[in-house]
Amino acid sequence: MKRVNLVRLTILTLICVLLAGCWDYIEIETLEFVFGLGVDRVTPEYIVILEMVKTSGGGQHAQVEPKVLSTSSGSVSSGGAALSNVAGLRAFWPHAYVFLMSEQVAREGILDAVEYIARSRQVRGTVWVFVTKDCTVEEVFKSKPPVANSVSEHLNAISLMQENISGFIPLQVWELNQDLTKEGISPVLPTIRLVHERGELVPVVEGTAVLKGDRMVGWLDGHESDILCLLKGVFERGFFVINTEVGEHGRFPITYEIVGNQVDIKPLVKDGRPAAAIKLTMQFGVEEVGRAPINFRDMQQTDSVEAQLATHFKDRIRELLHKVQVEFNADVLGIGQLFRRKQPEAWRHFGSDWDVYFPDLPVELEVRCQVVLTGLSSAPLRVRD
């Protein structure tokens, strides 16, 4: 028996030696790592833009230099292959950070552009997806982020920081996949703008593109996106500067920071029609009061601030709801999805006509705000007269 084992091991090793170096063997240095991928146009021909990195040096002196290449082609993947030819190295997708689409692509329907990313073995599901606003993908990739080596890394860093900088909701391909597939929810994509910063164009992520089906129907700006974040229960630590009335001293701009928010959306059936109840509880920290003579040890003042905050957010939520319900008719909060989950019987009834019901879906709104932190001091700086 044992001799047979040895023979078998030898055969195994022999076969592997004979087969070594075949088929899928690649050398890592012959790969061109694609960091970012973008589609500027889908019809009549795809315009595919890749941001690749050129590595050089080696050892302690490794250097990374972004290169942006673009081509027009019949599809995203063939564009990528064509660009391998231009680059002289094999385009290697799995390290891509971001996927960008221009507004035009988004308006015409993102499916054509996204399909490859969703299917591909190569591109990972964790790629961030963006829509560019007022600029093309190529311009974004060619802009100069101040710190990061490449635009893609810059965008990746921003997306990871989302909960600290607010103003957008980052989205990865797999989430987009799900949102596109599910009933009763409209996907939203973060948008990229270019801003001037000391003579250089710098990409920033701010605002949201609202999709219905796979077509874009409108924009939300940064502030609206903040509110959307709150409603979607995405945790973020946004700063809000709100003119607050302090007793009889008049109104002062006070800066609040959200330190916690819980949202509870309940689908309801009222008088045979769908409705929704949104209950939002937020905790705030007071960051900066400026000249406002406010003392948070004074319960009355605190209560008044909390009430004003609640009203403020209620108004802004109403505005947002109006925009998405009436202007876009896009269920960005996934209320339909919630209906399907919590009230399957009702959904069986309304589901097919959700588009009809959604624009004038009555929403009960309850907002509770609490001030829980005021920095290290309860009262403002006092200046001696």
Binding site: W23, G125, P344
Partner: protein, 372 residues
């Protein structure tokens, strides 16, 4: 030669056999969000057959498998049955090998011919089958600990991505899809356990078959339920059945502070190792059955030709990943029902009858069971 497997090792062997190559497939995809119900249903439905198998083995206690089997069914019926099950087990080995080779081709090595991978696997399982069930059980325990640990880690890491809402609404389309999903799961992998029936040579005690089959099966069912539900809750109920390998896809999303990412390979590796246990067991069963059908008690000499046949067979039954999906998820072929449900129950009935007769005759002709 008697090959005796300790109970706990046998249990792990059963567990690994069921979990091993099932892990990555969209099991019970037809049930949609009610997958957990489908799993529970399938477990309940499979239990009688598992119990029947254990019962038959328990009745045969004291003799090696084929001797006991012959005593129950008679010489020629048991040989014919062994031949048929040999074919069934061999086909199962082919299926598992092509599952693995197609998986590897799809996720990692697109241009490597799957037959090369099949050859590697065939060589390894040939060796494993020749070593026998004792060694395989030890191997299964070694590997099982690793596989279960990996699954536990993956489970914990996936928890943050789980959306429990994916399981709602419960029974939106009624109980029919649940039943369909349950039948999928029964067919693959639960009732494939019948192959294991032919593998154990003998057991230590009369209760051993129960101690091996029952906890092994229940643990496997639990592990699969957890893994499958988790991956469904991560990738989404609507998309779950559309992926070839939902667990793989789900694990690709793990991202713990940008450090613990890109863990899919772990799933792939676990899958390959786990599947190996299954294919080796299937080959072992096939060899034992064929050797017995030809009238030999030592099975080792038929292992090599059968393993070489598996290399070819893996390209015969299933050639591309599309068919893997079909076979794993959709087909309810009648021969599977025959082999997995009907025959085991019939054998059980015969065994019970024989046991009763044996008891009745036992007083008059002591130990005359051999002749009857």
């Amino acid at each position: 030669m008697k090959e005796l497997v300790p109970d706990h090792q046998g249990m792990i062997l059963v567990l690994m056999f069921i979990v091993g190559n099932t892990l990555v497939f969209p099991l019970g995809g037809l049930a949609g969000p009610d997958i957990w119900l489908a799993f529970l249903t399938a477990t309940v439905l499979a239990l009688p057959i598992i119990l029947a198998m254990a019962r038959v083995r328990s009745l045969m206690q004291g003799s090696t498998f084929f001797v006991g089997f012959e005593r129950v069914l008679g010489k020629w019926p048991s040989r014919i049955l062994a031949f048929l099950y040999g074919g069934f087990a061999w086909r199962l080995a082919c299926y598992v090998v092509s599952d693995v080779s197609n998986f590897i081709q799809t996720v990692a090595l697109p241009t490597t011919p799957p037959v090369v991978i099949a050859t590697f696997l065939a060589l390894l399982m040939l060796w494993a089958a020749k070593e026998g069930v004792e060694v395989l059980a030890r191997f299964a325990v070694m590997v099982g600990k690793v596989v279960l640990a990996v699954l536990a880690i993956i489970f914990v890491l996936l928890l943050s991505q789980v959306d429990l809402g994916e399981f709602q609404p419960v029974l939106y389309n009624g109980f029919k899809p649940v039943l369909r999903g349950a039948f999928q799961i029964l067919d693959f992998p639960f009732l494939e356990t019948v192959v294991l029936f032919w593998v154990f040579d003998c057991f230590g005690r009369r209760v051993s078959p129960y101690k091996v089959f029952l906890p092994g099966f229940l643990a496997a069912s639990l592990v699969l339920l957890i893994m499958v539900s988790t991956s469904l809750a991560v990738v989404g109920a609507d998309r779950y059945a559309l992926y070839y390998y939902p667990v793989w896809t789900a694990v690709g999303r793990i991202n713990v502070s940008t450090f613990l990412t890109r863990l899919e390979a772990i799933v792939g590796v676990t899958f390959a190792i786990g599947s190996f246990v299954k294919m080796a067991v299937a080959l072992l069963a096939a060899s034992r059955c064929f050797a017995y059908a030809f009238g030999f008690s030592d099975y080792r000499f038929v292992v090599t030709p059968l393993a070489m046949g598996v290399i070819a067979g893996s390209r015969w039954f299933i050639t591309t990943v599309l068919e893997v999906d079909q076979s794993a998820v959709e087909t309810h072929s009648p021969d599977e029902i025959m082999f997995q449900v009907v025959i085991p129950l019939v054998v059980w009935a015969f065994a019970e009858l024989k046991a009763k007769n044996g008891k009745a005759n036992g007083s008059s002709q002591a130990g005359g069971g051999e002749e009857v």
